[in-house]
Structure formats: C-alpha cells, structure tokens
Amino acid sequence: MSTASSTTIDVRIPTILRPYTNGEKVVTAEANNLGDLITALNVKYAGLGERLLENNELRRFINIYINDEDVRFMGSLAATLKAGDSVTILPAVAGGCK
C-alpha cells in the first residue's frame, strides 16, 4: 500500500530500444508523471533512461506520446499520467545531408 498513489502504465518500446527490455515490445512501470516513469523504467531496464534523456531533458530525436499526444505539448517530463494511459516511445525518423 505504500505506493498506492502510483499508477501502472503500459509503455511501448521501439525496436531499437528492445535490447534494453529483453526484447519486450510492451513493458509496464509505475509513475504519476513522465519524468518519474522514465526513472522507474531505468531502474527496471538499466541504460534505457540515458537513451531517452540528455541533461535531464527529453532527447531531441526521441518522441514520446501519452495516448495520442506528443508529450512536448503536455509539459514534457512534467506531463501527468493517469490510470489507463498508454505511453509510446518512437525515435524520430530524421536525417539530412550535413
């Protein structure tokens, strides 16, 4: 009961990060906001946090969505999570000639 206030969230993991989750496509972690979720994920799956964050901010070329919304429009790491929310992590598809 000590963590009764935390919510279990489903998190979809992209192919390139599945080596961190033992190949799992969907994992769960408990948190009430995105920052805490990433911390919790990194406890379970060491190294995953570093692939998502840089200097305690979301990496530029990682997109994270809560349900259908890009978290950059929801306060980024402060975005709140509630029961039934689903989080999707997708690396940007990007590049260029430089």
Partner: protein, 139 residues
C-alpha cells in the same frame, strides 16, 4: 542483402524528390511484416521543410507506427533525398537511423547528374553503413 524493388516505386520516389526540390523529400515503403518486400509507398511530409534536413512530423510518425501494429506491416524502406550532395548517408543520417531492419534509400537531385538521379540503398546498424545492391524489377 539486396533491395528488390519495382521500377514504378523507384520512379515515384525520384519524381517526389524533384517535385519537393529544393527541400529534401522523405517517406517509407511498407510491406507485410517479415516479408522484406516493399509494396506500399507512403510519401511523408518533411516537417523540417529544409534543403539540408528531413524529419517526419511527430503526429504522422505515431499514425504510421499505429498502422504498422494494427495491420501487421513493417517499414521495409526509409527513403529521403539529398539535394546537392551524393546519395550516401551523412553523419546525421547515421546518427538518427533507428530501424535496423530497414533498407535506407538515398536519392540525389544534385545538378551535376541532372536529369539522371542516383538511387542507392544501405543498411545502417549501430552506426555502421553497408551499401547493398538494388535490383529494380520491371513492371
């Protein structure tokens, strides 16, 4: 591994690269999961609208991956154009390549070779680039 691709898809990508010039164009070709067979061309909007950079729009990206999940498809090809440089992955391309199973196709619209265009394919895995043969299948 060879990329086998129909000639009409190649023509459409080259056409898109010319239409969107001077910006870089981008898109994917989908196929059934596990098939390595590119069948469904999906041109994407370059959200960067830039001659030196491309990026899929964030909402389009989510919609694309939802479609893959729901319809058991995979991204067989990720393509984009270089406007003034050769069709070889740049440092940026290599840094952001995140689909180890995809063929990364580069086309170039550089003027030296106009009106011909380069169409080349690569694997980009853990920062390592390997060019692969392209076999174009006639209709």
């Amino acid at each position: 591994m060879t990329l086998r691709i129909h000639a009409d898809l190649v023509a459409k990508i080259l056409e898109q690269s010319r239409v969107e010039y001077p910006d870089e164009c981008c898109g994917v070709i989908l196929g059934p999961e596990g098939s390595d067979n590119p069948v469904e061309l999906k041109p994407m909007i370059n959200a960067a609208h830039s001659p030196t950079f491309y990026e899929f729009d964030s909402k389009d990206l989510l919609a694309l991956y939802r479609e893959l999940d729901e319809k058991s498809k995979e991204i067989v090809v990720v393509y984009h154009s270089h406007t003034e440089t050769q069709a070889y992955p740049s440092r940026t391309d290599i840094a952001y390549a995140s689909e180890p199973n995809a063929h990364y196709v580069l086309v170039s619209t550089r003027k030296e070779i106009a009106p011909e265009s380069e169409f080349r394919s690569y694997r980009i895995i853990n920062g390592e680039v390997t060019e692969e043969p392209v076999e174009i299948i006639s209709a």
